[in-house]
C-alpha cells in the first residue's frame, strides 16, 4: 500500500537497517576502541609492566597513551581509508538520524516513563552528538585550529600535551574558554556513550533479536553494563586529559621520543611541531 | 440498468454477516452504522455461542435437542420452524468462525473447548475467553474490511438511519444522516436489511451500549413495519449496577461453576468470604436441583428479585446477591473468564477471585423485535413431537431446508417487501426468553443463512421502480423534522422539556413497570406516564442549535422514537394477560396457551399502537410446562428423567 515512488521509499528498509547497522559497525565499535585507548591516560600507568618505573601513575598513563597513539599512527594499515569510512558512516548515520528524529514528537511531560525519557534523550544525544563529533574531528583531526581556544594543534607525536592544551584552552592553565570546551566534551561524550548503549538496546528490538519482554529486559542490563563501562572510560579519559599539565607532558613526550628514536628524530619533530611557546626557560624543563 | 445494491443498516454480527454473505454473491453492499462497525454492541457479548458438537452428540445431545431446548426455553412463543433451521445450521457457523481465525479456547489436544450454559445439561457452548462476542465481531469486521478494500462493501460509519423509503409496500432505499456533517441524504437499495440490535436504552440503565436505543426499529415501525412481541424483554440475572449503566457479568460465570447465594441471616454484615459454608443460602441450587445455577435467565432473575425484594434477604440488606467464583483456581478463572473478572475489578475495585461478586438483575436483551416471516421447510410431522430426551434418536436429520426453505426470498422479510430484519432486531427465534449463548448464533445465522435469501430476492427482483421525487421528499421530510427540533433552541428550557430528563424518566418508569414482575395496574399507570412524556416531548427544547455534529439532535430524535417503542412494549404487556418466559404478570401468574400462545404484533396506525395477536406455528413440538424441575412444581416427576440423563 505504501507509496514507493521515491528513492527513500523504495529503499526504505535498507536505509533504516543501514542506519541501525552503522551505529554499531563501524561507529560503535570504533567508539569502544577509541574510549579504551583514551582512557589509558588514566589507567595506563598501571599497565606499563615495569617499564618507566621512574614515572608516577599519571605520568605513566601519559606514557602508555603516547605509545598507543604512536602505534596506531605508525602500525595500522590504510589508516586514512579507515578514517574516511568512519567519517562517511558517521555522516550517513547523522543525516538519516536527524531526518528520522524529526518525524517524532517528544511527550515525556505527559508520559514520564523511563523508556520514553530514553526515547527523548536518544534524539537529543543524537543532535548534540553530531555537533560534538564534528567539533572534535575538525579541531583535533583536521586541525581547524581557529576553533580551538589557544590555538593548540593536535599532533600524534605530542598527543598528550596537544590534547591537554586543546582542552584547557592554553598550554599554561585552564582558561575560561578551555573550561567551556572541556564541559562541551563532558556533555558530548556522556551523551554519545548513552546514545550508543541505548541504541544498542533498541537495535536489538529493531532487528528482532529481543522479542519477549524478558529478553528485552536482559539485553537492557547488558547494554546498561556496557554503557556504564564506557561512561567510566570516557569520563576518566577526559578527567585525565584535563588534569594533565601540557608543559610537563611535552617534556615527557620529548623524553620518550628520544628514548625510542634518538635525538635526531626529536629535532625533526620539534621543527615541524614547535609546541608551546616556552614561558619558562628551556633549562627549567631540562631540570625536571 | 443501474447495478443492483443492498443496504445493510447496522454493523454488528448480524449486519456484518449479512454484508459479507451478500457481497459474496457479487451484489454490492452499502453498510450503515452509527459507530465504526468494530465498536458495535456485539462486542459486549461475553459467554459464548451455542451449537451441537461432536462431544455433546456422543453424550446424547443433538441439533434437534438444541432446537427443543430453545423452544422450551422460549416458552413456546417462537415459530418453531426457523428455530429448527438455526439449530441445525449452528455447527456450520462455528466451523466458519474457526476458519476466520476466532481464537476459540482450546483443549490440550487442540480442539475447541466447550462450556456449560444456562438451559442445557450439555456442554454445547463454544467460547473465546469471556469476550466471545468481541472475538466474533472482530472476525466478521476483518472480513468486511477485506471486502471493503476490494470495493465490494462501502461503509457509511457515523451515519444514522432515519427512515426506510417505501413505495407501494416495497422497500426501495433509506434516508440517513451523517452524524458529523449533519448532511441528510437518501440511498437507493434493491433491498434493505435492518440489523440494528436491541432497545435496552428504553429502560435507561441496561447492559446495552449507548447506541442501543431501538430508534432504528421504531423508525421502521412508524413507517408501517410490524413489531412482534415487544413486551418480551430479557432481564439478565447477573449485572453490576452502575451510575451510567449496568455491566453484564456473563452467564458463563455460572457455566464455569459460579454459585449464587445470600447469607442465611438477613443483613449479615460480614464480608462474603468470611461467611462459613453452612451459613450460606444457595437458593437456586435448592430450588432447582437439576439445573441449579444454570436455570434460564428469566427464572434466575425472578428468584433473585424474590429473595431481595420480597424476602429482604439481599446482601447487606441491599438489592444484591453474591455470585461466587472464589472456590475456583485463579489460573483457570483467568483463562476462562479473565475479561469479565477484569471488568468487575475495574468498576467495583474488588478482586472477584478473592471476594464473591455482588450482582443484581438488569435489562439485557429484547426477544421482541421487528416482525418477520419465512417459507417453511420440508419437515412437517403428522403431529407435534413430544419432549425430546437425551440419547433418543432425533426425529429428523440435520440437512438444510428442513425448518426453513433455503434461500427463499421472504425468509426473515418484514411485512414490507424487500425489507429484512436480522439479529436482535428480528423477533423470530427466542420466543419469551432467550437462552444464554443463543444470541450470537441467531445473529450470524440470520446474516449468513438469510443473507442468501436477500441476494435471491434482489436477483429475481425487477429493480427499483421509483421516481427521484420519492427520495427527495423523504429527505425533505427528515430535514424538516431535524430543523423543527434544532429550532426549538434552549430558550425557556426546563427539566420538563429537557430531552435528557425525559429519557431518564422514561427509563426509570419502564424499569419499574415492565421488567421482572409486571401487573396490569402498574402497566396501565406506565401507559399514562408515557402519554405525559410524549406530551412533554412535543414541547422538547434541544439546547444545541449547532449545524455540525449535533449529538443532542440525534439523542432527542431517538428519545422520541424510544417513547413510541415504549408504548408498544407496555401495550403488548397489557394485552398479554398471562405469564410466559420473561413476561411475568403477578395478576396472571400462569401460562395460558389457549389464549396467548400467540405473537403480539404491534402495528402503528393513525399515530398510535395497535396490538394484534397472530397465530404461531407449533406443528413441530408439543408445548409442555416450563418448570426446569423446580422442587415445588407439579412437574417434579420430569426431574428424574433429566437427572438420569446428566
Amino acid at each position: 500500500m505504501a507509496n514507493d515512488s521515491g528513492f527513500m521509499e523504495r529503499n526504505y528498509f535498507l536505509l533504516r537497517r543501514l542506519h541501525s547497522l552503522t551505529g554499531i559497525l563501524p561507529i560503535g565499535v570504533f567508539l569502544i576502541a577509541h574510549l579504551t585507548t583514551n582512557s589509558s591516560l588514566a589507567w595506563g600507568g598501571l599497565a606499563l609492566r615495569g617499564k618507566h618505573s621512574e614515572l608516577n601513575t599519571l605520568e605513566g598513563g601519559q606514557a602508555y597513551f603516547y605509545h598507543e597513539v604512536e602505534w596506531i599512527n605508525s602500525n595500522v594499515p590504510h589508516l586514512l581509508l579507515i578514517e574516511i569510512t568512519l567519517w562517511l558512516s558517521i555522516a550517513f548515520h547523522s543525516v538519516l538520524g536527524v531526518y528520522y528524529a524529526r518525524t517524532g514528537k517528544n511527550n515525556t511531560q505527559r508520559y514520564a516513563y523511563q523508556d520514553n525519557k530514553r526515547y527523548k534523550w536518544q534524539r537529543i544525544s543524537g543532535y548534540v552528538g553530531v555537533l560534538f563529533i564534528f567539533y572534535h574531528v575538525a579541531t583535533l583531526r583536521w586541525q581547524w585550529t581557529f576553533l580551538v581556544p589557544g590555538g593548540a594543534e593536535w599532533n600524534h607525536h605530542f598527543s598528550v600535551s596537544t590534547l591537554a592544551a586543546a582542552l584547557r584552552g592554553s598550554y599554561d592553565s585552564i582558561t575560561f574558554a578551555g573550561f567551556v570546551v572541556s564541559l562541551f566534551y563532558f556533555v558530548g561524550i556522556t551523551l554519545l556513550v548513552f546514545h550508543f548503549a541505548n541504541g544498542l538496546w533498541t537495535a536489538a528490538i529493531t532487528w528482532g533479536l529481543t522479542v519477549s519482554e524478558q529478553a528485552q529486559k536482559r539485553w537492557g542490563m547488558v547494554c546498561t553494563a556496557l554503557g556504564a563501562g564506557l561512561m567510566l572510560a570516557a569520563w576518566s579519559a577526559l578527567g585525565a586529559a584535563v588534569m594533565t599539565d601540557p608543559v610537563e607532558a611535552r617534556a615527557l613526550e620529548e623524553k620518550l621520543i628520544v628514548e625510542a628514536h634518538g635525538e635526531q628524530h626529536l629535532l625533526e619533530a620539534k621543527e615541524k611541531y614547535p609546541g608551546p611557546a616556552p614561558t619558562v626557560g628551556e633549562e627549567d624543563i631540562a631540570d625536571k | 440498468m443501474e447495478q443492483k445494491r443492498v443496504i445493510v443498516v447496522g454493523g454488528g454480527l448480524a449486519g456484518l454477516a449479512a454484508a459479507i454473505r451478500i457481497a459474496e454473491q457479487d451484489i454490492p453492499v452499502d453498510l450503515f452504522s452509527m459507530v465504526p462497525v468494530k465498536r458495535s454492541h456485539s462486542v459486549c457479548a461475553q459467554g459464548g455461542i451455542n451449537a451441537a458438537n461432536d462431544i455433546a452428540k456422543q453424550q446424547g445431545y443433538s441439533e434437534y435437542q438444541h432446537f427443543d431446548e430453545t423452544i422450551y426455553g422460549g416458552d413456546y412463543l417462537a415459530d418453531q420452524a426457523p428455530v429448527l433451521e438455526m439449530a441445525n445450521f449452528g455447527p456450520k457457523i462455528i466451523d466458519l468462525l474457526d476458519r476466520m481465525g476466532v481464537p476459540f479456547n482450546r483443549t490440550s489436544e487442540g480442539y475447541r473447548q466447550l462450556r456449560l450454559f444456562g438451559g442445557s445439561l450439555f456442554k454445547r457452548t463454544h467460547f473465546s475467553g469471556a469476550s466471545t462476542g468481541q472475538q466474533l465481531l472482530y472476525a466478521l469486521d476483518e472480513q468486511t474490511r477485506r471486502y471493503e478494500s476490494e470495493g465490494k462493501v462501502t461503509k457509511y460509519e457515523f451515519w444514522e438511519f432515519l427512515a426506510p423509503i417505501i413505495k407501494d409496500g416495497k422497500a426501495v432505499g433509506i434516508v440517513a444522516q451523517d452524524m458529523r456533517t449533519m448532511q441528510t441524504r437518501s440511498f437507493k437499495g434493491d433491498a434493505v436489511v435492518m440489523a440494528t440490535g436491541g432497545c435496552g436504552l428504553v429502560f435507561g440503565k441496561s447492559t446495552n451500549s449507548v447506541i442501543c436505543t431501538g430508534a432504528a426499529a421504531a423508525r421502521c415501525y412508524r413507517h408501517g413495519v410490524w413489531y412482534g412481541n415487544p413486551e418480551m424483554i430479557q432481564v439478565h440475572p447477573t449485572a453490576i449496577p452502575g451510575a451510567d449503566k449496568c455491566r453484564l457479568m456473563s452467564e458463563s460465570a455460572r457455566g464455569e461453576g459460579g454459585r449464587v447465594w445470600v447469607p442465611k441471616k438477613a443483613g449479615d454484615t460480614r464480608p462474603g468470604r468470611e461467611i462459613p459454608e453452612g451459613e450460606r443460602w444457595y437458593f437456586l441450587e435448592e430450588r432447582y436441583p437439576d439445573y441449579g445455577n444454570l436455570v434460564p435467565r428469566d427464572i434466575a432473575s425472578r428468584e433473585i428479585f424474590d429473595v431481595c425484594v420480597n424476602d429482604k434477604m439481599g446482601v447487606f440488606g441491599e438489592n444484591q446477591v453474591y455470585l461466587d467464583l472464589t472456590h475456583k483456581d485463579r489460573e483457570y478463572l483467568d483463562n476462562r473468564l479473565g475479561a469479565i473478572l477484569e471488568i468487575y475489578q475495574k468498576f467495583v475495585g474488588e478482586d472477584p477471585r478473592e471476594n464473591p461478586m455482588r450482582i443484581f438483575p438488569a435489562v439485557h436483551y429484547s426477544m421482541g423485535g421487528i416482525w418477520t416471516t419465512y417459507t417453511k421447510g420440508n419437515y412437517d410431522p403428522s403431529q407435534p413431537h413430544g419432549m425430546h430426551n437425551p440419547g433418543e434418536t432425533p426425529p429428523i436429520g440435520t440437512e438444510m431446508g428442513l425448518g426453513m426453505q433455503l434461500g427463499a426470498p421472504n425468509n426473515m422479510m418484514t411485512n414490507i417487501e424487500g425489507l429484512y430484519a436480522f439479529g436482535e432486531v428480528n423477533f423470530a427465534y427466542h420466543g419469551a426468553t432467550r437462552l444464554g449463548a443463543n444470541a450470537l448464533l441467531s445473529c450470524i445465522f440470520d446474516g449468513l443463512y438469510n443473507g442468501l435469501s436477500v441476494a435471491n430476492y434482489v436477483k429475481n427482483n425487477g429493480g427499483i421502480d421509483a421516481e427521484q421525487s420519492l427520495y427527495d421528499d423523504a429527505v425533505k421530510h427528515e430535514e424538516d423534522y431535524s430543523k423543527s427540533l434544532i429550532d426549538t433552541g434552549s430558550a425557556d428550557a426546563t427539566p420538563e422539556t429537557n430531552p435528557y430528563t425525559i429519557a431518564n424518566e422514561l427509563g426509570v418508569e419502564m424499569t419499574e413497570a415492565s421488567t421482572v414482575v409486571k401487573t396490569g395496574e402498574r402497566l396501565e399507570k406506565a401507559e399514562e406516564k408515557l402519554a405525559g412524556l410524549r406530551d412533554r416531548f412535543s414541547r422538547v427544547r434541544l439546547g444545541d442549535a449547532a449545524s455540525w455534529t449535533n449529538q443532542s439532535l440525534s439523542f432527542t430524535r431517538a428519545t422520541g422514537d424510544m417513547l413510541i417503542l415504549a408504548e408498544a412494549i407496555i401495550k403488548g404487556g397489557i394485552v398479554r394477560k398471562e405469564s410466559r418466559g420473561s413476561h411475568y404478570r403477578l395478576d396472571y401468574p400462569d401460562r395460558d396457551d389457549d389464549n396467548f400462545m400467540k405473537t403480539t404484533v404491534a402495528k402503528f396506525e393513525g399515530n398510535a399502537t395497535r396490538i394484534d395477536l397472530h397465530e404461531i406455528d407449533t406443528r413441530l413440538v408439543k408445548p409442555r410446562p416450563r418448570t426446569y424441575g423446580k422442587t415445588d412444581s407439579k412437574a417434579s416427576e420430569k426431574k428424574q428423567e433429566t437427572a438420569a440423563a446428566s
Partner: protein, 277 residues
C-alpha cells in the same frame, strides 16, 4: 495481571459523597475552529465515572460562571471498556473514560478532572475525534484471514491452548488508539493521502503479528511484511514503549514490535537472496 496506569489505586473508601468535582474540558466547535477550555461543576452520583458526569453535564450544561452552553460532545459505546469508543485524554493521560472512576480521580471536594480529546486524530467536535486512520492502517497490513468463502468447509486449523492464549491476547485489541496517542513517533496527519507512508503504530503492527501467526492468515505474510518493511512501517518505531504501558488490554505490543522486527529482517534478507521482490 500486572498493575498498569489503567488501574489506579482505589480511593473509593475515602471518597466523600455529595462533593463537588470540577471538570475542565477542552472544547472545539468543529474542524478548523479554535479550542477553548470550559469548566463545569458536577456532584457525582454513587459509583460515578467520567461518562455519568458528562451525562449530567449534558442534561444541565451550565458552566461554573453560570453561563449556559451547548452540551459537550463525546464518543462512547459499550461503557465496559471493550468497544474503545470513549477514549480521551484524562488528566493528561489517554484512557477510556468509562473505566475512569470519579472516586479514584477526584476523591475530595473541589478536585479537578481535565478532559481533552485525543491529540493524534482530527477533532470532530469537543471530545470526539475521527479515528478512521486507525482502521485504514488495518487495511495496510491486511489484518484478516483470507478465507475462500463463508460456506461450510469444515473446521479451521487445530491450535494448542498456549498458542490460543497468545492469539486471544493480541485479538483483544479494540482499536481504541491509546497506543497511538501515547506514542511520540505517531503524529497527527489530517491528509489522508499521506497515511500510507506515515508511521502505522503499535496497534496495526500487533495485528499483523496476529494474522501472520494464523495457519491460513500466513498466506498474506509476505504482503504484510512488505508493508511493515516500507515507509511508516515497523522500523519507524522509536522504542519509547509508551504503547504497552497505556494499553488498557495489556496487549504485549512491544513484543509484537520485536517479533515483526525480526520477521521483516528475515523476510527482507530472504527475498534479497531469493531474488523475489
Amino acid at each position: 495481571m500486572s498493575n498498569t496506569a489503567t488501574t489506579p489505586a482505589t480511593n473509593s473508601a475515602t471518597a466523600k459523597q455529595g462533593r463537588t468535582v470540577r471538570f475542565r474540558i477542552l472544547r472545539c466547535d468543529g474542524p478548523g475552529k479554535p479550542s477553548y477550555w470550559s469548566e463545569f461543576d458536577v456532584q457525582p452520583e454513587l459509583n460515578a465515572n467520567v461518562i455519568s458526569c458528562l451525562k449530567q453535564i449534558a442534561e444541565k450544561p451550565v458552566m461554573v460562571d453560570g453561563k449556559e452552553v451547548t452540551p459537550v460532545v463525546w464518543d462512547s459505546g459499550c461503557l465496559e471498556e471493550v468497544c474503545g469508543a470513549c477514549t480521551m485524554v484524562i488528566n493528561g493521560k489517554v484512557r477510556q473514560s468509562c473505566t475512569c472512576l470519579i472516586d479514584d480521580y477526584a476523591p475530595r471536594d473541589g478536585d479537578t478532572i481535565t478532559l481533552e480529546p485525543m491529540s493524534k486524530f482530527p477533532v470532530v467536535r469537543d471530545l470526539w475525534v475521527d479515528r478512521e486512520r486507525l482502521f485504514h492502517n488495518l487495511k495496510r497490513v491486511k489484518a484478516w484471514v483470507p478465507i475462500d468463502n463463508t460456506y461450510s468447509l469444515g473446521p479451521g486449523p487445530k491450535e494448542s491452548p498456549e498458542s490460543q492464549q497468545t492469539h486471544y491476547k493480541l485479538s483483544e485489541c479494540m482499536s481504541c488508539g491509546c497506543c497511538l496517542e501515547a506514542c511520540p513517533q505517531f503524529t497527527i496527519e489530517e491528509d489522508e493521502s499521506k497515511w500510507n507512508n506515515a508511521f502505522i503504530g503499535a496497534h496495526a503492527i500487533s495485528q499483523a503479528r496476529l494474522f501472520n501467526n494464523h495457519e491460513t492468515g500466513k498466506q498474506l505474510k509476505g504482503e504484510r511484511l512488505d508493508e511493515l518493511a516500507g515507509p511508516g512501517g515497523v522500523a519507524d518505531c522509536g522504542n519509547a514503549q509508551n504503547c504497552v504501558k497505556v494499553c488498557p488490554k495489556e496487549i504485549p505490543l512491544t513484543e509484537s514490535i520485536g517479533a515483526m522486527g525480526r520477521a521483516t529482517t528475515i523476510h527482507k534478507i530472504a527475498s534479497f537472496f531469493s531474488g523475489k521482490k
